[in-house]
């Protein structure tokens, strides 16, 4: 069944994590705005990543990692036109131009580089197809996803943390009444000043973001920095502090009675 969605809702890092944990094999296609990526996995490991219309035959990849020059790549490509990457690789190794390690390192580096670029995609349709394997002429690598996931999750974590600290942009900001804080002496950057101008219990953060042309991430980042610095508090747009409903304990009941009640429910549902 389908593993399909939008990166907006399920980030690329989360997908990698899922593939890693479930040790999936298959092809992940990501269709970003104006570009397309194909990433192959084997048993939860990265096998091959290709992006866009970029030249990604072996000679181009070897040139990117400076194992050969651009000119050499051109010559090789012309002479091996109908050959697959595997055949070209063997040819270069057998001819003593390169070692097997050179070839694999370059391919690995390239695939990782593609993954790093995919971390910055926040928009795009992805689809995972379990039945597609690495094309037979391509040389697969084998890269553990863990380190890549850690890298990707650093970005993700910031975003999630900000969403947790500032769950709703419908709240407003208000200057703290700390005596002795003089805004003029604060070392704020330009972006922070742009927000500070609008700090007022009447303005929701969403409204501030609108007038300052900031996206959700940017306004949260700045609001968080101001919060951390103790310059502002989060308040309801009418100025009252937010109230969290207290958790309600269940009324205590007799254990045996409770058990018999649940057992009766079970019997009844079974008979439906």
């Amino acid at each position: 069944m389908a593993l399909r969605g939008n990166l907006r809702d399920f980030s690329f890092t989360q997908i990698l994590n899922l593939i890693n944990l479930a040790q999936k094999t298959g092809l992940l296609t990501v269709e970003g705005p104006g570009e397309m990526a194909h990433v192959y996995f084997r048993d939860g490991k990265l096998a091959l990543a290709l992006i866009g219309r970029e030249e990604n035959d072996l000679s181009a990849i070897l040139a990117r990692s400076r194992k050969i020059t651009a000119n050499q790549a051109k010559v090789i490509r012309e002479r091996t036109r109908s050959m697959t990457d595997k055949e070209v690789g063997l040819l270069l190794i057998n001819a003593g131009y390169l070692s097997q390690k050179d070839v694999l390192d370059s391919l690995q580096l390239y695939s990782i580089e593609v993954i790093r670029r995919l971390f910055t995609w926040v928009e795009g349709i992805f689809q995972f197809d379990q039945s597609s394997a690495v094309p037979s002429g391509k040389i697969p690598v084998r890269v553990d996803l863990e380190n890549l996931i850690v890298e990707g999750s650093r970005q993700l974590r910031e975003w999630e943390q900000l969403q947790e600290e500032i769950p709703s942009l419908d709240m407003a900001l208000k200057f703290t009444d700390r005596p002795g804080t003089n805004l003029r002496h604060l070392n704020l950057n330009l972006e922070e000043w742009r927000v500070v101008r609008y700090v007022n219990p009447k303005n929701s953060m969403r409204q501030i973001a609108q007038v300052t042309h900031m996206n959700d991430l940017e306004i949260r980042r700045i609001a968080y920095a101001l919060l951390q610095a103790g310059i502002v508090d989060i308040v309801r747009p009418d100025g009252k502090p937010p109230v969290m409903p207290p958790p309600r304990p269940l009324p205590p009941v007799n254990k045996e009675e409770h058990k018999s009640l649940v057992q009766r429910l079970i019997n009844r549902i079974r008979s439906l």
Binding site: M1, D9, F10, L18, K259, V262, R264, L265, I266, R268
Partner: protein, 179 residues
């Protein structure tokens, strides 16, 4: 006469009303409204306050199934609905990953209101686009011990299974000594 309740929650359009309808002995008493806002016209009606269904157990016991409104702007109802519940079911539309994050946040909210047992239903498993239950578990970051069950809300048997699994969990928590 004793009334007990189980709450069926989850994001907009997840299939909560459908779930209750499949097992209720009465027509679901629903507070559905025609949807007017253009952006929300995925379907023609939505639950605005709550739905409820009823299952009579015996002369002394009635189980009510309460469906919450899925739309965020009605979430003031949640706390009231969760009061005194035996447990709750989080319905997730497995074919709409854009709702997964919200499903998780609803789950956490309900759990904070009342730390009762809950199960997660991976609904709409009959849709081509549905994510498999185990992929959904990873996507929702559910612990391995949280029950996540495949569901097709219009099929009575899967609905029964989910209710039973929830009741088994409730039974277990009663039997587990708390300290």
């Amino acid at each position: 006469m004793q009334n007990v309740k189980i709450v069926v929650t989850g994001p907009f359009n997840a299939g909560k009303t459908e779930f209750i309808r499949s097992v209720s002995e009465i027509d679901v008493v629903s507070t559905e409204r025609k949807i007017t806002a253009e952006a929300e016209k995925i379907k023609s009606s939505t639950t605005v306050a709550m739905d409820f269904g009823r299952i009579t157990v015996d002369d002394e016991l009635v189980l009510y199934l309460f469906g919450t409104p899925g739309q965020k702007r009605f979430d003031f109802m949640w706390e009231i609905l969760s009061e005194g519940m035996l447990g709750f079911i989080v319905m997730v539309d497995s074919a709409h990953p854009e709702t997964f994050r919200e499903a998780r946040s609803i789950l956490e909210t309900f759990h904070a209101y009342a730390p009762t047992p809950y199960v997660v239903a991976a609904n709409k498993q009959d849709c081509d686009d549905a994510w498999e239950a185990e992929d959904l578990r990873l996507a929702l970051r559910l612990d391995p011990q949280v029950k996540l069950l495949p569901c097709v809300a219009s099929q009575k048997e899967t609905v029964k299974t989910i209710l039973l699994e929830l009741l088994y969990s409730i039974l277990e928590t009663i039997e587990t000594p708390t300290d």
